[in-house]
């Protein structure tokens, strides 16, 4: 699900970038040929759908005149697609997410964000912590106190892999409460959907997952969301408190963005800034975000560069504390 969102966002971005070229190109001769958006995943996943949304939005809104293709390069949690991007010129973009940081920190890749040109952060999802409605833990504090007392007494559902945002957001929160994240009992499921099934069936006590996985269940009173990682309460879920309200100073976005190959010229970066900036202003982009339960989180290339540096620092600490560091 998360990947899906991410991909959609990236796709949307790519489309924006393309459409402007004809109109505003002016003296610049970029782009000179067809454009490519790399989805480092198989068709149908989150990244693929982000890429395809970007493709569609950029073309439908005439932001880019050139043809845009989406190519799927799955494997290694983005590694294969990004490696491919490294060898391309500025006509190729790729969707990304925090995996571009964590892959390196977890030791599964040599590549990191510095090997690419950040172009934009498109949107974000928020993380959530949820329990069964009849759980004995009715607040974040109840849960954290029990985790502090006996970290292994609580089975936590997470998926599809340790070291992802679901896992690390809980690590950050747990640390604030003085819980040792290394001692927690994680059950790793195949994906967000399976995690929720496990919670509904009573096979785990609590799940940490993206909000979209549990939102419907919460509205139907099948689960109880204890905390959401946004800074302020969300409109559709105004009964769910944020982490901040409950004494944890954190905002944890699960963002998706888009990046280009290394060594792009200023003109090329400016081109994409303009196109992607225009794309996120369109109504269709709002619709894409709404359908996917994303929140607007647009940052241009410069802001994204800075954001990536902050994120890199944060993730380095979190991965260290989670016990997953290579």
């Amino acid at each position: 699900m998360k990947k899906f969102l991410f991909v959609t966002a990236a796709a949307a971005l790519a489309m924006v970038g393309c459409s402007d070229s004809g109109a505003s190109g002016g003296g610049e001769e970029f782009p000179q040929k067809n454009l490519e958006v790399v989805a480092p995943a198989s068709p149908g996943g989150g990244w693929d759908l982000t890429a395809r949304s970007v493709q569609k939005l950029l073309q439908d809104n005439d932001l880019v005149e050139e043809n845009i293709t989406v190519s799927n390069k799955p494997g290694g949690g983005g590694e294969v697609g990004w490696k491919y991007l490294q060898g391309q010129d500025a006509h190729t973009l790729a969707v990304n997410s925090s995996l571009v940081l964590t892959n390196e920190l977890l030791g599964s890749s040599e590549l990191t964000y510095e090997d690419f040109t950040p172009l934009a952060t498109l949107a974000t999802e928020w993380q959530s912590l949820a329990v069964a409605p009849d759980s004995e833990y009715q607040s974040l504090e109840d849960l954290m106190n029990q985790m502090k007392k006996d970290p292994s007494s609580i089975n936590i559902g997470v998926g599809p892999a340790l070291g992802n945002d679901d896992h690390l957001s809980l690590v950050q929160a747990a640390k604030e409460f003085g819980v040792d994240p290394k001692k927690l009992n994680f059950l790793v499921y195949e994906g967000g959907g399976d995690v929720v099934t496990a919670l509904l069936g009573g096979h785990v006590d609590v799940v940490t997952t993206s909000l979209s996985e549990v939102k419907e269940q919460h509205l139907a009173d099948k689960v109880n969301i204890l905390a959401v990682s946004s800074s302020e309460r969300l409109e559709e879920l105004d009964d769910v408190p944020t982490y901040k309200e409950q004494g944890v100073d954190m905002e944890f976005p699960h963002w998706r963005g888009i990046m280009g190959p290394p060594d792009m010229t200023e003109e090329e970066i400016a081109f994409w800034d303009e196109k992607l900036g225009a794309m996120v202003e369109t109504d269709q982009w709002n619709e894409v975000m709404e359908n996917n339960d994303w929140s607007g989180f647009y940052k241009n290339s410069e802001e994204t560069q800075q954001f990536m540096e902050e994120q890199h620092e944060l993730y380095t600490t979190l991965v260290e504390e989670s016990g997953m560091a290579k």
Partner: protein
């Protein structure tokens, strides 16, 4: 009830019937091609569905999905190369039937079996969607582990007379399944630094390699020997009354079985069809005919895997939980269209759910007709000279493989497994235990370890629930049943 009738009317609109037929036909075609499955077909159609009416898009995707179940067995029957995990069981008796010149009858029978399975499951959907989704929740890690154990033991019990080879094949498959990142700990196992392997070995590559490439290499053995293969007769395209009499109860029994297994997220058509096959073999009065072209051995898994595909839609629509690769892609596509499957879908958009259900009735009828009409065309494949057909199959195997991972690394894996498949066939190893072990091995290990983690290491979790105990009993039965039967027969002979 009103919503139900409204749904029926919507699904009978000409435009929707058109989508059903297109989807069903497309599903049949992609199901036939090795590697290309419904998941890929749905995924590549997502951009097309962007502009569509959400209801039509849902109908279209569902039609592709169950259409592929019809198509999957065509290549199993004709060429001994299943297009997907759920079509493996169709090779056991479908291919021997084709070799006897009964290809047309086999395909007609499998189409009818699929149809009945699909219709039964759709009816089951209407009555049982809610309670079954509750039942599926009872399956925790321990229960899933036991279900997979049951499947593997059932398959081992199939390899009568070559048990040792069956076990070896299974353990090789299980070992292959450990390749990739270990989910529970994040440790990399046997990836040799190839990023492409970190997500594990794609089981479809193993299937395509061993079945499609391996089968072609195997057939090279007497390719120049024209005397051995007298022209295969295609036979009638409709099955006989005797075949039908043998198949009708297996079809009716295994539709519900497949449906229930399909509802369990993660279980799916491969497990359903395999369990159906072994069940029928064990219940049969002449188990010795299984594997040699017994019509019920083809009909039972066909009914079952189609029912399973309908069952898998239940957790998707009632809880928003995808139970298989294809339903996961469908979930993604539905979200793009602004439909959020989940507990509120039935309350907020009942007409959408009932339209889908009714479209499945219409769709199964359409698919039955499509597939019966195709029989006459497909048997022509057998008329193609083998020397032309085999290179084409090899090429299709490569392209299918490429669409799975978009990497030529997979081509080498394909060749390795092709050669491996050839050796296994020559030495008379059973293939199914290996493939099934690759399919379920990773989940089996993961569920085993999750079960122990959640119980703080206590093994009691494996017999702590009624479902778990039931599965243990079934596993024991499936292993001991052949022995019991043998003893029983022996005694009977003695008394005679």
């Amino acid at each position: 009830m009103d919503a139900f009738l409204e749904g029926l009317m919507t699904s009978l609109q000409p435009i929707n019937i058109m989508w059903i037929v297109i989807g069903g036909f497309l599903g049949t075609v992609v199901g036939m091609l090795p590697g290309l499955g419904p998941a890929t077909a749905v995924a590549v159609l997502i951009p097309v569905t962007f502009g569509m009416d959400p209801v039509s898009a849902l109908i279209l995707m569902a039609a592709i999905y169950y259409g592929a179940m019809y198509g999957g067995s065509r290549s199993s029957i004709l060429l001994n190369t299943p297009g997907d995990g759920s079509a493996i069981a169709a090779t056991f008796d479908g291919y021997p039937m084709a070799q006897k010149g009964l290809a047309g009858q086999a395909m007609a029978l499998s189409a009818v079996a699929s149809f009945i399975g699909g219709i039964m499951a759709t009816a089951g959907f209407i009555i049982l969607a809610k309670p079954l989704s509750e039942f599926a929740l009872k399956f925790g890690p321990a229960e899933y582990f036991l279900l997979m154990l049951l499947t593997l033991s059932a398959i081992i019990s199939l390899s009568t007379g070559r048990m040792v080879k069956g076990f070896i094949a299974m353990f090789i498959g299980l070992f292959l399944a450990t390749i990739g990142v270990d989910t529970q700990s994040g440790v990399y196992r046997f990836t040799f630094g190839i990023p492409h392997l970190s997500e594990g070995l794609e089981f479809l590559i193993v299937i395509i390699g061993i079945y499609a490439v391996g089968e072609v290499l195997y057939n090279f053995m007497n390719i120049d020997d024209d005397h051995k293969k007298e022209k295969k007769k295609v036979g009638k395209i409709w099955f006989t009354k005797e075949q039908w009499d043998r198949s009708k109860w297996p079809i009716l029994r295994n539709g519900p079985l497949g449906f229930i297994i399909g509802v369990l997220p993660g279980a799916g058509g491969s497990i359903a069809s395999m369990l159906s096959y072994t069940t029928e073999k064990q219940l049969s009065k002449h188990p010795e005919e299984f594997g040699k072209g017994a019509p019920e051995g083809l009909a039972a898994p066909e009914s079952s895997n189609n029912a399973a595909s309908v069952g898998a839609l239940i957790p998707l629509l009632t809880m928003g939980i995808p139970g298989s690769g294809t339903t996961a892609v469908m979930l993604g596509a539905l979200i793009m269209l602004g439909i959020r499957p989940g507990p509120l879908l039935f309350e907020n958009q009942p007409e959408m759910v009932w339209t889908l259900v009714n479209s499945m009735f219409v769709g199964n009828i359409a698919l039955l007709i499509i597939n019966i009409l195709l029989v006459g065309l497909l048997v022509k494949i057998l008329d193609t000279p083998a020397k032309v057909l085999y290179p084409i199959i090899i090429m299709l195997a490569f392209i299918g493989t490429y669409t799975l991972g978009y990497s030529t690394v997979d081509f080498f894996l394909l060749l390795v497994f092709g050669y491996f498949g050839l050796v296994l066939k020559i030495l008379d190893f059973p293939i199914a235990p290996l493939i099934l072990a690759v399919i379920v091995g990773g989940d089996m290990e993961q569920n085993f370890r999750m079960a122990l983690t959640s119980s703080q290491g206590s093994a009691s979790i494996f017999y702590g629930s009624p479902v778990a105990v039931g599965l243990i009993v079934l596993t024991a039965l499936s292993l001991c049943y052949p022995l019991i039967i043998k003893a029983f027969k022996r005694r009977k002979q003695q008394t005679e």
